[in-house]
């Protein structure tokens, strides 16, 4: 049963499919929480699964299983965070869980796919579910409809571009298997068609990762979708896209200079653009959208090193990225009493209203900025080291400068909550499980910062 995690996610979604037909809506949350936890356990148990399925199109190895575990973590956190019933119309709740499950299923399949058609199918399974849940938000407004339309259009176009690139690949190599493509492709890389094919193919993942110039959807979708949906879109699919990029790079034997140059340019533009535009954002989700664009750039630093270190560093960074983003989003979720968007001004006086939330926000924001002893620093250190080791000092320096630029707006989050006085001074009461979740997130971010050795070893084995 090497594909147990995937089968379980399918089961999860089908359960909610049936629940959505039924009338009982009362204990949906409990069901979702319990079932997602079981899913996490199953994924963790099957981490040692190995195998090649479907004529080699589907590979189950340590790499894919690690990422499935990461998705399961993200999925569980998102479900637990949805605790307050203020986000989604009650009637759609079962469907919401179903589509979240389907999306996670698609992402789980994506990291195991090593063949172009299965990659495309998995990506679409995940994307279509997301297209559906983006407009699901209490109180329909034009903003979220616009967001969902944009997401659909941009998604469809980038899928189209990706398939177009894949057709080139198939045309050149006459195979859809990544192992074969990676083997033959270097011969074509000195021709424009080779570079074009690979960049077009990767566009699909760049889109999910919101790497510049495929980032246009991100801030609008973040702003328009409900807070929980944004939390999911901002974290789990990005990890999956990064995973596939890393998978492709690990299969490639050597780096082509032209390809690396393109990656460097994309990374530099992505960081700089994301951070500079992030500076002027007032809406926190929008701000995080731009921060995500910048982080996609950081991530590419690990990938373009094309080394074992670099890939392990990139995986590490994605894991850290997941948890530190969850931290910030959780604060947003808890602050938004009726599911509205939170602006910077809403944060003022947070340290007085809810010290724990302010602390969670501070730890996560400092981690996003890359200040030790948080995970963000350790991840960035590994990325910088591997890119530097591969000889790309220029991108390391750009990354360092970007760290300074980004601190302005991350610090702003902390500044608002600690040194501004509250406009509304009423304290925010947190339930026990909300507090526990905050502590867990703080712990994870600090743990990833201080004790990275175990996971680093695991990730090195995986790549």
């Amino acid at each position: 049963m090497t594909i147990l995690p995937e089968l379980y996610m399918l089961f999860f979604s089908i359960v909610f499919l049936f629940l959505s037909v039924g009338k009982r809506k009362a204990d949906l949350f409990t069901w979702a929480k319990v079932l997602s936890l079981v899913g996490l356990v199953i994924t963790l148990v099957s981490i040692n699964g190995r195998g090649n399925l479907f004529y080699g199109a589907y590979r189950v190895d340590l790499f894919s299983q690690i990422f499935k575990a990461v998705f399961a973590y993200g999925f569980v956190f998102v479900i637990f965070m949805l605790g307050r019933k203020n986000e989604i119309e009650e009637g759609y709740l079962a469907e919401y869980f179903m589509f979240l499950g389907f999306s996670t299923l698609g992402l789980m399949m994506l990291v195991s796919s090593v063949e172009l058609i299965s990659i495309a199918i998995s990506l679409e399974i995940s994307s279509y579910s997301l297209y559906v849940i983006v407009p699901l938000r209490k109180g329909q407004t034009k903003v979220q409809l616009e967001a969902s339309m944009k997401y659909l259009f941009f998604g469809a176009i980038s899928s189209g571009i990706m398939l177009y690139g894949m057709s080139y690949l198939y045309g050149m190599i006459q195979s859809t298997f990544l192992s074969k493509i990676i083997f033959v492709l270097p011969k074509f890389l000195d021709q424009p068609i080779g570079i074009l094919a690979i960049i077009l193919t990767l566009a699909g993942f760049f889109f999910k990762l919101s790497l510049f110039p495929f980032h246009f959807w991100a801030p609008d979708i973040y702003e328009g979708a409900s807070n929980t949906t944004t939390t999911f879109i901002a974290t789990v699919p990005k990890v999956a896209a990064a995973a596939l990029l890393i998978r492709i790079v690990t299969m490639a034997s050597s780096a082509d200079p032209a390809f690396v140059t393109i990656l460097i340019v994309l990374a530099a533009l992505s960081m700089t653009f994301g951070n500079i535009v992030g500076l002027v954002q007032k809406d926190i989700k929008r701000l995080l959208g731009y921060s995500g664009i910048a982080h996609a750039g950081y991530l590419i630093m690990g990938i373009l090193a094309m080394s074992r270190d670099g890939n392990a560093a990139a995986i590490y960074y994605m894991v850290v990225y997941l948890f530190m983003n969850l931290g910030v989003f959780y604060v947003v979720l808890l602050l938004a009493k009726s599911g509205e968007n939170i602006t910077l001004n809403d944060l003022s006086g947070l340290a007085r209203r809810a010290p724990l939330l302010a602390f969670t926000l501070a730890v996560s924001a400092f981690s996003l900025a890359g200040i030790p002893p948080t995970g963000g620093f350790t991840g960035k250190l590994f990325l910088f080291t591997s890119a530097f080791k591969a000889g790309y000092l220029n991108i390391v320096i750009i990354g360092a400068v970007n760290t300074v630029i980004s601190i302005f707006y991350y610090l702003n989050l902390v500044r608002m909550s600690y040194s501004k006085e509250a406009i509304v001074a009423e304290p925010i009461n947190l339930s026990v499980h909300e507090k526990a979740l905050c502590y867990v997130l703080i712990f994870l971010v600090l743990y990833l910062g201080i004790m990275p050795f175990g996971l680093t070893q695991l990730f090195r084995m995986a790549v």
Binding site: A312, A351, P355, A362, F366, I371, P372, P373, F377, L381, F382, F384, T385, F388, K389, V396, I397, A400, V401, T403, V404, I407, F408, L411, V414, R415, Y418, S419, K420, P452, F453, T456, Q457, R460
Partner: protein, 494 residues
């Protein structure tokens, strides 16, 4: 364990203990609810840690230049990052300075901090952990983590408990320092890629190419120059000092600024000796500018805290002057100056804090004419003020004398200007002192210092006089390390 490290002679890891006692205390604090208990625990933690760190002095072996009380543990083997601790003559007194100031900071905030006492004490203790860690770390990444981790509690100290302009000051402090640090990180990675480890002693005095040294020195120097702060990177300092609560100002002035000069001594000179020699003239010029400029700016201040902040710029200018004179006397003087400045300026900030609590103003005029109203206070203040401009018989005189001797050996002009700066220091300090003692005639209902306040100023006053009259034990303790450093540097002189 390498030939650079003497393992710990005690049967418990004393450096780790010194680093982590405050952190443990801070975590215990979080569980408490009563403010008085919180203060008590914070103070006890500070005192215990000071007593533990005194053991360092007792067991310190002044006859070797090697790192002592060594601890070694693997940390992230994949990147050859290790947990290495050790201290030498350069750091021993800086650690003691940190551990003695921490309980004083708790005492001086006893009544001054009224809201969120628990979080305040938490920040103070976490700061202490990180600061001791910076001085003990012998692994670049460990060092960097402590170095940066310090920023967060310091930022919060200013941002939450600071004065009216705290927002601006705290953000400026944070971003300025971080700006320097990221280049430090790049330099650290560069050293790692060349030497294959993050080990600091391993990276010292190796045959790097001049080009490599040039860039690494610049990256280091920006980070450290901002921390010192050297002219023209000093602008964050007056803002941060003025707005920070007393305890924050004391930590900033006494310990944080020392990290810059410590960085020059520990990293720039041994890791990039050729580049240090190359850049020394420029650094001397900047130091002299800092001394003169700081002096003139002080003359026109009306805010006590700002005046002392700018005087820090001038005093730290002396420290960097000593370091980049690249002479034995200069190094010794710089180290003594760091220590002395830590004590004297810390004490002056404490004094300002004491009077601020009574008058709620930092303006010199509002606090003038205290001679008859607060005689004890004025006694202490006078002592620290004259020590600040290096009056013979006080601690700063010893340090500045060493530095001037060192500077005059090679750089007569720099020495000359530094002497002018020393005279300026006398001018602005005496002016301040005169105002505070005799500036106003009117009687105001201000109480003199209480026992708690006297208690935390006495140790500092004792140190001021001890160091001023009998500096031999201090010099003896640091001597070996400095002599070794100088002899290693000799090789690189053209």
């Amino acid at each position: 364990m390498g030939d650079y490290l003497i393992m710990n002679p005690l049967n418990f890891p004393i450096l780790s203990t010194t680093i982590f006692i405050p952190l443990a205390g801070a975590i215990i604090l979080l569980l408490m609810r009563n403010d008085t208990i919180v203060k008590g625990i914070a103070f006890t933690t500070g005192i215990i840690n000071f007593l533990v760190s005194l053991l360092l002095l007792v067991y310190f072996d002044a006859s070797t230049h090697l790192f002592q009380f060594g601890e070694f543990a693997r940390w992230i083997p994949q990147y050859n990052i290790n947990y290495i601790l050790g201290i030498d003559g350069i750091t021993i007194f800086l650690i003691l300075l940190t551990t003695i100031l921490a309980p004083m900071c708790v005492l001086c905030s006893w009544t001054a901090i009224e809201n969120r006492v628990k979080e305040f004490m938490f920040c103070i203790l976490v700061m202490e952990s990180a600061m001791v860690g910076v001085f003990c770390a012998l692994d670049l990444i460990l060092f960097y983590i402590f170095w940066e981790a310090m920023l967060i509690p310091m930022y919060l100290l200013i941002a939450v408990w600071g004065g009216p302009n705290k927002d601006y000051a705290s953000v400026k402090f944070f971003i300025y320092t971080l700006f320097g640090s990221v280049f430090l990180l790049v330099a650290i990675i560069a050293i790692y890629l060349v030497t294959g480890s993050f080990n600091i002693p391993n990276a010292m005095f190796r045959d790097y190419s001049f080009n490599f040294q040039f860039w690494v020195f610049l990256a280091f120097a920006i980070a450290f120059a901002i921390k010192v702060p050297m002219f023209p990177f000093h602008t964050w300092l007056p803002a941060a000092h003025t707005e920070a609560p007393t305890a924050g100002s004391v930590f900033l002035a006494s310990v944080l600024l020392k990290m810059g000069t410590y960085g020059f001594l520990r990293f720039c000179l041994p890791i990039t000796p050729q580049a240090s020699i190359f850049f020394a003239p420029y650094m001397l010029v900047l130091s002299v500018i800092a001394i003169i400029y700081g002096g003139f700016v002080c003359l026109s201040q009306t805010d006590m805290k700002k005046l002392i902040a700018y005087s820090s710029v001038a005093h730290m200018g002396f420290a960097t002057l000593g370091i980049f004179s690249l002479t034995l006397f200069g190094f010794q003087g710089a180290l003594l100056q760091m220590l002395n400045h830590g004590v004297t300026t810390g004490a002056l900030f404490l004094c300002v804090g004491i009077v601020y609590e009574r008058t709620h103003s930092r303006e010199i005029y509002d606090n003038a004419g205290l001679g008859k109203i607060m005689p004890i206070y004025v006694g202490f203040f006078g002592l620290f003020a004259i020590s600040s401009f290096a009056f013979p018989g006080t601690n700063n005189f010893v340090g500045e004398l060493y530095i001037l001797i060192g500077t005059f050996i090679n750089h007569k002009a720099a020495g000359f200007f530094a002497v002018v700066g020393a005279i300026l220091a006398a001018a602005y300090m005496l002016k301040l002192l005169k105002q505070i003692i005799w500036g106003r005639e009117d009687k105001r209902p201000i109480k003199d210092m209480n026992v708690r306040e006297i208690a935390y100023l006495i140790p500092l006053a004792v140190f001021v006089l001890w160091m001023g009259l009998f500096p031999a034990p201090f010099v003896h303790t640091i001597e070996k390390t400095i002599i070794h450093l100088t002899s290693q540097l000799q090789v690189y002189f053209p």
